[in-house]
């Protein structure tokens, strides 16, 4: 096994990973960065984000408003010190991207334009038409090419963290093109490996979002925090789950049920003004909108389509010019994949799994409890998103905390003790053995596709928009069973070069571990908060659950749960008020 020595190893080269790499390169040009990703950086799923990134810039907006929107949007489960830092850094980071060439949409006067977004009191979402994530990712990737200290390892699949003396000192990875295991020895490691939407059957996420980073940290003993909070985006295309940005509604699109009725007014989100009113109706938060769909479906007021039940997103009144200018991708996607041109037709939509609020437990410095290990982006949970992330906060989050992860990783790399090379090698051998064992495994009668599909089904039924004890219990048991069956999966393809059968199998392994944390955290949170809505505990219970859940890996059995107080600085938990009475 080859050992590649570096100073900072970064796992994942999406928005957060690239931002971290640039932060290291800028603050410490003498340190070597190994930027390791299972895909080429521009394939990372940041690319698919559409709507934009929040940061206070406009006259009349205030940091305090952004703070309050975020905290209330997260149903008071956000750490307020982190939110405070986040909202202050947001405009700085977005301006930095502007300086790096990001083609933000502009006002006539040349200033960066902002659009309204769900749950936000004022317009503060910077956007680049409806390809904001694409432009952010490409700007970061292209900018990263400037720095000679950033060495990329594209298409390397990281398998395990290398922990020696209780300190994270590297990561093992399989080079996809050779099948060789490589050992990265690093003074600091940053995980920026993205989310886990693929554990669900119907998601906006790309196929690469398979919980790899979360599972790696989790197995190494770092807790996963608030995993029960899974965001459903209210407007995905049926069939494929392709995202139609909240920007559709920010620009004035409305949601109607089968009677053409703006049903959101029945769920404390009214009045149904003919113009977009911030924090009301279609500009309510995502959890509330997705839950409203669920209720409409129960009332039989959704539309039956060949892809299942849907409601309609109506953008026709926006006109062709505005749609072409602000929502060109949406138009293309809707016309191509469901045959509905938003300029002339209603577009069928339904809620779809979009984002994991939970993730690797980090503090405000993006540091995990394990020395030398940092995490940022969707795989991490700081937490600024609490129980429900507001749209357009995540792109900003990966910039703010990606940078922070980079800077704190530099600090640690400078002060870290001498690496324990023999122990690192030994840990590397163990990691290699895990993969070799997979190759050596005999046919145990289990099929990886079947296991993945059963996992998808059980996650939807037990960890969907509404949850109940029985279905969650079933899901916990099912995941446990699947994990056991997974140990009997064998590889159909035992070759070395670009073996995607091996890759997909390892990914399903990661997802099963993270899925277990999701289901088990959910069943233990006996309240309803944000995206975690229970039919058996319908109220929020601040007395018992104004706390972060921490799931600890326990091997093949259920995780151990622990809880951590939420950091409250100046906003005491209150009612989340949207609609006409929202302030």
């Amino acid at each position: 096994m080859e050992t590649i020595k570096t100073d900072v190893a970064i796992i994942g080269a999406g928005g957060a990973g690239l931002r971290a790499a640039i932060a290291v390169a800028e603050s410490a040009p003498d340190l070597k960065v190994a930027l390791i990703s299972k895909v080429y950086p521009m394939r990372s799923h940041t690319v698919a984000a559409e709507g934009g990134a929040a940061g206070v810039i406009k006259q009349g907006d205030s940091l305090e408003d952004h703070f309050n929107d975020t905290v209330a949007g997260g149903d008071w489960l956000c750490d307020q010190d982190a939110v405070d830092l986040f909202i202050r850094q947001a405009p700085v980071e977005l301006t930095q991207l502007e300086h790096w060439g990001c083609p933000w949409s502009r006002e006539k006067n040349g200033h960066v334009a902002v659009r309204p977004f769900g749950g936000m009191k004022n317009e503060r979402t910077w956007f680049a038409a409806d390809k904001s994530g694409f432009h952010i990712l490409h700007t970061l990737f292209q900018t990263s090419l400037k720095y000679p200290s950033i060495e990329r390892y594209d298409e390397f699949y990281c398998t395990d963290l290398i922990v020696a003396d209780g300190v994270c000192q590297g990561v093992s990875a399989i080079e996809m093109r050779t099948g060789l295991m490589q050992l990265f020895q690093a003074r600091s490691v940053i995980i920026a490996a993205g989310g886990a939407g693929w554990m669900f059957p119907f998601t906006t996420n790309g196929a690469i979002k398979t919980a790899d980073g979360m599972a790696m940290a989790y197995r190494a003993g770092v807790p996963l925090k608030d995993m029960e909070f899974v965001q459903y985006h209210p407007t995905g295309l049926p069939g494929t789950g392709i995202l139609l940005t909240e920007g559709c509604r920010g620009e004035g699109g409305i949601l109607v049920n089968k009677d053409g009725y703006r049903y959101l007014q029945d769920y404390d989100l009214g009045p149904p003004d003919p113009w977009p009113r911030n924090k009301a109706m279609e500009l309510g938060p995502r959890d509330r909108l997705s839950q409203a769909f669920w209720h409409e479906q129960k009332k039989g007021r959704t539309v039956g389509s060949r892809w299942g039940d849907v409601v309609y997103l109506d953008m026709r009144h926006l006109g062709e010019k505005k749609i072409n200018e602000k929502l060109p991708l949406v138009r293309d996607l809707a016309a191509s994949y469901v045959g509905a041109d938003p300029v002339h037709e209603l577009v069928p939509v339904r809620p779809v799994v979009h984002y994991m609020m939970g993730g690797i437990h980090t503090n405000i410095d993006a540091a995990t409890p394990m020395p030398g290990l940092y995490a940022a982006g969707e795989c991490a949970c700081v937490s600024i998103n609490g129980a429900n992330r507001l749209g357009s906060n995540s792109l900003t989050e990966l910039l703010v905390f990606g940078k922070r992860a980079g800077e704190h990783a530099v600090e640690h790399a400078r002060s870290a003790a001498q690496p324990s090379e023999s122990e690192i090698r030994q840990k590397g051998e163990e990691a290699r053995k895990r993969v070799t064992d997979l190759f050596l495994r005999e046919d145990g009668g289990e099929n990886i596709t079947t296991i993945r599909k059963e996992m998808n089904e059980t996650m939807e039924s037990g960890a969907g928009i509404y949850r109940a004890e029985d279905s969650m219990r079933e899901t916990c048991d099912k995941v446990l069973e699947l994990r056991e069956r997974f140990s009997r999966v064998h590889l159909e393809d035992k070759s070395n070069v670009f073996n995607t059968n091996m890759l997909y199998t390892m990914e399903v392994g990661s997802m099963l571990e993270a899925a277990h944390a999701v289901a088990f955290s959910a069943i233990n949170r006996k309240e309803s908060r944000g995206s975690h809505q229970r039919l058996d505990y319908t109220a929020r219970d601040d007395g018992s659950f104004l706390k972060h859940s921490l799931a600890y890996y326990q091997g093949e059995v259920e995780p151990r749960m622990d809880y951590l107080d939420v950091v409250i600085t100046r906003s005491q938990p209150g009612q989340r008020v949207y609609g006409g009475s929202a302030k």
Partner: protein
């Protein structure tokens, strides 16, 4: 190392036959040969003109030979293809932005087509083509 990337060789002489798009491109490239031959013919005419009526008559007689006439008709068609394909891509080379918007490529191309017709008509007129 078990890598063994496979390089697909392409024929350096016949690659353009596989796809219509490439064939049309090669046809465009080949128009240049005809333009070259015709230009040399034109140069010969100028030479003949400079040498006096006798030489020029030899030139004119040559133009009247069936072989040359046949070649010229073919070249004429090829020239039309050159003109059409050349003008149709002009907007790519010279986009025109007025205020915020770009002038649609079709308008730029259409402008060229119109100018082409006008120029051709003027030359034809000056050569007395409309007198007969």
């Amino acid at each position: 190392m078990s890598r063994k990337p496979y390089v697909r060789e392409i024929s350096h002489t016949t690659w353009y036959l596989a796809r219509r798009r490439d064939l049309l491109h090669m046809a465009q490239e080949v128009t240049s040969l005809f333009i070259g031959i015709y230009t040399i013919m034109l140069l010969w005419g100028v030479k003949a003109l400079s040498e006096g009526p006798g030489a020029y008559q030899v030139f004119l007689d040559a133009l009247g030979s069936p072989l040359v006439i046949a070649f010229n008709w073919i070249t004429f068609v090829i020239m039309l293809y050159h003109s059409i394909s050349w003008f149709s891509v002009t907007p790519k080379a010279m986009p025109v932005q007025i205020g915020e918007e770009f002038l649609p490529g079709g308008i730029i191309a259409a402008g060229h087509y119109i100018a082409w017709v006008v120029v051709s008509a003027v030359i034809y007129y000056l050569a007395g083509g409309f007198n007969g």
